[in-house]
Amino acid sequence: MRQTFKDAEHLLRFAGLFAVGIAAFFALRAAFIPKGFGELGHYRAGALEDNRQRLPRFAGAAACGDCHDDVRQTLRTGKHAGVHCEACHGPLAPHAADPIATAAKRPDPLSLCPVCHQKNVARPAAFPQVDAAEHAGGSSCTECHVAHNPGLE
């Protein structure tokens, strides 16, 4: 070994510089690259958990039926069977979590029903639609229709 490295101190110094540079590179890399980066792909693995950190505002139709089974039965046989509860009643996750503390509000039919059922050329022709102003002369939709099981009128 000593024979090989005789008269080659300058090379050793150069190699030493490189070694220090490489070590510094790895040290800085470890400092700057966030934890979890590269584990699952070219991204920070912790971002998956970050995207899960949000409280749902909609409870989901399955949650409503636990207490409101009567409504669920009414819906089942009618035209609104496929309409989830919160499509009309709005986000109700707080109510589902604590029904007594957070009351749900009954929507006003004349403001709600035309959102879907107002006559519009772009809506499919087979979809039931009326001109809300002319259809019932201003009276509320629920005077003739049962919201959870609207009949064919």
């Binding site: 979890g36 070219h42 991204y43 998956l48 989901g60 919160e86 986000p91 959102v115 050329v121």
Partner: protein
């Protein structure tokens, strides 16, 4: 020159170090715990089915998404929105300027679509809900300079808000225009398929509030999922197929006029 003994000594040390490093790496990967206890990412591959022939343009999905995901109010910020296409009846004179389709999306469909067209004049008229297509070969993931947007192992393109620089390269790269800059944080935001809901077994807010079932979330890896039947029974298309993005939002009844 190095003699054989020294060479063996050096290479032996090198191999040992690499072997040790490899073992250490494996233990890092194995030690990544599943964050949601019953949810295994590799069991799912999320997609969505949208039926243009059924959508009534009520805007429930737009409102629900804004509520659920705290999207800023106003016409520039949408994770999902609805467009109304109106294609007039073909005129007798093909050079007639009135012949072109028109699109409108008043506040993204948030307040519904006020009637604009006379009943008689529509050749075709329909609504197209749009959102992030969660592309399998996503251009936005490709261009991000730092890796702040990525496709999760379960097929959802997500944004790492703490890592995003706000350079807007991805906003430019997305062919569907589904990304926007959140003015409050100056970072990018977009539909994340309600990741906080789907990992808990709920469906997305837009699908939950859709009254007609025009929007349906689907898990392509689940053989019982209804999306397989829907894809089999309908003639489906993706938006901008020529971009070869591997988009995973499948549309039934997508007209050629839709961009």
């Amino acid at each position: 020159m190095m003699n054989r003994r020294d060479f063996l000594e050096q290479s032996g040390k090198f191999l040992l170090l690499t072997g040790a490093a490899a073992l250490a790496w494996d233990s890092v990967l194995a030690g990544q715990p599943e964050q949601a206890p019953n949810y295994r990412m590799t069991d799912h591959w999320w997609a969505m089915f949208i039926d243009v022939e059924v959508c009534i343009g009520c805007g429930n999905c737009v409102r629900a998404c804004k509520t659920e995901n705290d999207v800023p109010a106003g016409p520039a910020y949408f994770r999902t929105w609805v467009e109304r296409y109106h294609i007039p009846k073909k005129p007798l004179d093909p050079l007639d300027a009135e012949d072109h389709p028109t699109v409108d999306s008043p506040n993204g469909g948030y307040d519904g679509f006020p009637e604009r067209y006379e009943e008689g004049d529509a050749g075709k008229s329909f609504f197209v809900p749009k959102l992030c297509n969660h592309c399998a070969h996503s251009p936005c993931v490709q261009v991000c300079p730092v890796g702040a947007t990525f496709e999760s192992p379960d097929g959802v393109v997500l944004v790492d808000k703490s890592y995003c620089l706000g350079c807007r390269y991805c906003v430019q790269a997305c062919p569907y225009g589904c990304r926007y800059i959140d003015p409050r944080t100056n970072t990018v935001d977009k539909c994340n398929l309600c990741y906080h809901r789907i990992t808990k077994g709920l469906t997305t807010a837009c699908c939950e509030s859709c009254p007609t079932g025009a929007r349906r979330l689907g898990d392509l890896k689940n053989p019982q999922d209804p999306i397989h039947e829907l894809l089999r029974l309908h003639k489906v298309q993706v938006l901008k197929p020529q971009m070869a993005t591997g988009a995973k939002v499948y549309y039934n009844g997508l007209d050629g006029a839709v961009r």
